[in-house]
């Protein structure tokens, strides 16, 4: 019994300790001219869909949920955001070469078509990020118009 208490206490200390290492924030106050929506002058409904389903992990601006302040959950989030931005950063889309823009568009389309994006683990919590059938179709149709 005493042993259990000690283990519990150690765990508690570790967990509290973890909270002293918060994640860096992925925030920017301005929307750059290289932003995807600005680059292509995307219509309002598309901009909204992208904002709620993609931008949290694929841009320089994340709207953090409250639990991002709880470690180690926040670390997991940070890792997702870093990986997401590495493969596609919608804030910097306009700075990509046109070849890279085209190939990113192709990958975006196939990821969305195959329901690989947005991530199921993400939409599980963020219900508003889920793409309804209509939203998905509108977004895909729009992305296809950008491909040459």
């Amino acid at each position: 019994m005493k042993r259990l208490k000690i283990i519990g206490l150690v765990l508690l200390v570790v967990l509290v300790g973890l909270q002293f290492f918060p994640i860096g924030t992925n925030h920017s106050t301005t929307i750059p001219s290289t932003d995807f929506v600005k680059t292509y002058k995307a219509p309002e409904d598309i901009a909204q869909t992208l904002q709620s389903s993609c931008y949290n992990c694929h841009s320089n601006n994340t709207e953090y949920p409250w639990y991002s302040k709880v470690q180690p959950v926040g670390w997991l989030l940070e890792d997702h955001i870093n990986k997401g931005k590495e493969v596609l950063n919608l804030s910097e889309f306009g700075s990509y070469s046109s070849r890279r823009q085209q190939s990113k568009l192709m990958s975006m389309i196939s990821q969305i078509e195959d329901d690989k994006m947005p991530l199921a683990s993400y939409t599980f919590i963020h219900r508003d990020a889920r793409l309804s059938k209509e939203k998905k179709k509108t977004l895909l149709d729009y992305l296809r118009t950008l491909k040459d």
């Binding site: 070469s97 070849r99 890279r100 190939s103 192709m106 990958s107 078509e113 195959d114």
Partner: protein, 186 residues
């Protein structure tokens, strides 16, 4: 008798129209392109070698080998010497290499998802082709096209042989496709 002649000629005309329609459909699907001649050069040889090996791995549905070849290809792109290329082409080549290395990297990181590897291979194939047209090649290449890939949107790839071995479907549809273009060395 006259009726029969009219009917027959009508039938012939509609047959002709049908055949013509079919023909036009075929050419758009096949998208045969005029052949191109490129300079003889070994500057992209390592890239071509590993691209072709990667293609063969995908033909064999071997995603593990495809991943390790993706890594090799990624290194080849990093090692590629831009400075010896014509000045006015360096920018475009740099863009091709930037894009292509990213696809090679994704292929190397997805040893358990051959579908995803194939998606990146499709765009990579275009990059390698555009690259070879600028840098030149040390061998004749054929661009083949499978109209059924990606929900019938089709996908192209490069090969040293006219014989079709499909990297998008592998054993499922090994011989689907046809040669679209020849890239020969001057």
């Amino acid at each position: 008798m006259r009726k029969i002649i009219i009917l027959l000629s009508l039938a012939l005309i509609s047959l002709g129209a049908f055949a013509q329609h079919d023909h036009s459909k075929m050419t758009t699907k096949k998208k045969v392109q005029p052949s191109v001649k490129v300079e003889h050069s070994k500057s992209a040889s390592a890239i071509i070698d590993n691209y072709l090996a990667l293609k063969d791995a995908l033909v064999k549905d071997d995603s593990k080998n495809a991943a390790s070849l993706g890594k090799k290809l990624f290194d080849d792109f990093a090692k590629f010497d831009l400075s010896v290329q014509a000045k006015q082409q360096q920018n475009e080549l740099a863009e091709i290499i930037e894009d292509a290395s990213e696809h090679a990297k994704h292929i190397s990181e997805n040893s358990k998802d051959i579908g995803h590897q194939r998606e990146h291979f499709e765009i990579l194939s275009k990059d390698v082709k555009d690259m070879v047209i600028i840098t030149g090649s040390d061998r004749t290449l054929y661009q083949a096209f499978c109209p059924m890939y990606n929900n019938n949107k089709g996908g192209a790839w490069l090969s040293t042989s006219k014989e079709i071995r499909n990297p998008y479907f592998g054993s499922k549809m090994l011989k689907c496709g046809s040669v679209q273009q020849e890239i020969s060395v001057k």
